[in-house]
Symmetry: C3
Subunit: 134 residues, 3 copies
């Protein structure tokens, strides 16, 4: 049974490593601008990177939920592939947001598109399951 | 085995769609009040809706954890039913918070009650499992 | 099959109960300092406890992801043990942060170390799985 979730688990670990990378970037900027916790405001560069990380953290459980439902009920390899693309888009989002608020928009729309594909895969997979069983 | 988690997966996708609805509301209010990211402060109406969404995001993984443990170890249909009620309470919470901070309280207490039921179902399910197996 | 995930589910419920404890602490401090939502700023004591809870919430889904991948692909008892240690470190982090920003550091580094062990367990487990199957 584990082979049905091994790729999903691998993408999950990759997603955690990406969140760790984002967290390290925030810590680096905190030190650079001397902004110690619990303070979360500062120069625009810091506020952008702080929001970038907060946004990625907020979407982390949403992404994993869809990755797993899509992977289990629809197609593991396809879901895991979408997962890797999503993580790449999130990396571009973070790097873009570091530069300017405008540069986050392209990767943001793209990552939302990947989530929509995962929602579609999940819904189709669940629908097929219910139709077959009832 | 998939039939043991199909309803839980369905509620999970519904929860994601609700989070998407909340996110779209925040974007709508950002445009209405011309508050571009990374700014998160503004008029009370905006700050309320921003906090409403942040609170729902914070409880999203907590809710899913309980939904799944309760559904797998106790009773899938009961857990999924509680899940749908919780999502409805969260919708009322969000709409109430948009109107005033006071109006969030009723649905907030109600949604906390539903989470307590899911905690109870999880604990009873796990206890029965451990008693049976040891 | 449930016995392979019963301990992971138990630690998951414990993690939820810990988050509930943190949330109650924030509510208590909100009442003490008369800081009603949606306001999130106030005296340093309140801002520290608010950030402590926000940080624990942010790491909650990351921790659960690693707990489950490590527990399923590597060793359930070992992963669950790490999970309990992590929850204890998070409790110390929260209590330390309540006192001063400096006192959060020790438990923060320790909890990060536990997450690194869970990442290691996950990676080794997945690697062994892929080597065995291909």
């Amino acid at each position: 049974m584990l082979h049905n979730i091994a790729l999903l688990s691998t993408v999950t670990v990759l997603a955690v490593l990406e969140q760790a990378y984002f967290a390290v970037q925030v810590i680096t900027f905190r030190r650079k601008f001397k902004i110690s916790p619990p303070i979360t405001s500062g120069p625009p560069e810091f506020e952008r990177i702080f929001r970038a990380q907060a946004n990625c953290s907020e979407y982390f459980p949403i992404f994993l939920s869809l990755l797993w439902v899509a992977g289990v009920f629809s197609h593991q390899v396809l879901a895991a592939f979408c997962g890797v693309i999503y993580l790449y888009a999130r990396y571009q989002y973070f790097r873009g947001y570091m530069h300017s608020a405008e540069r986050r928009l392209g990767p943001m729309y793209f990552s939302t598109g990947v989530l929509c594909i995962l929602i579609g895969l999940s819904m189709v997979g669940l629908l097929v399951h219910f139709v077959r069983n009832f």
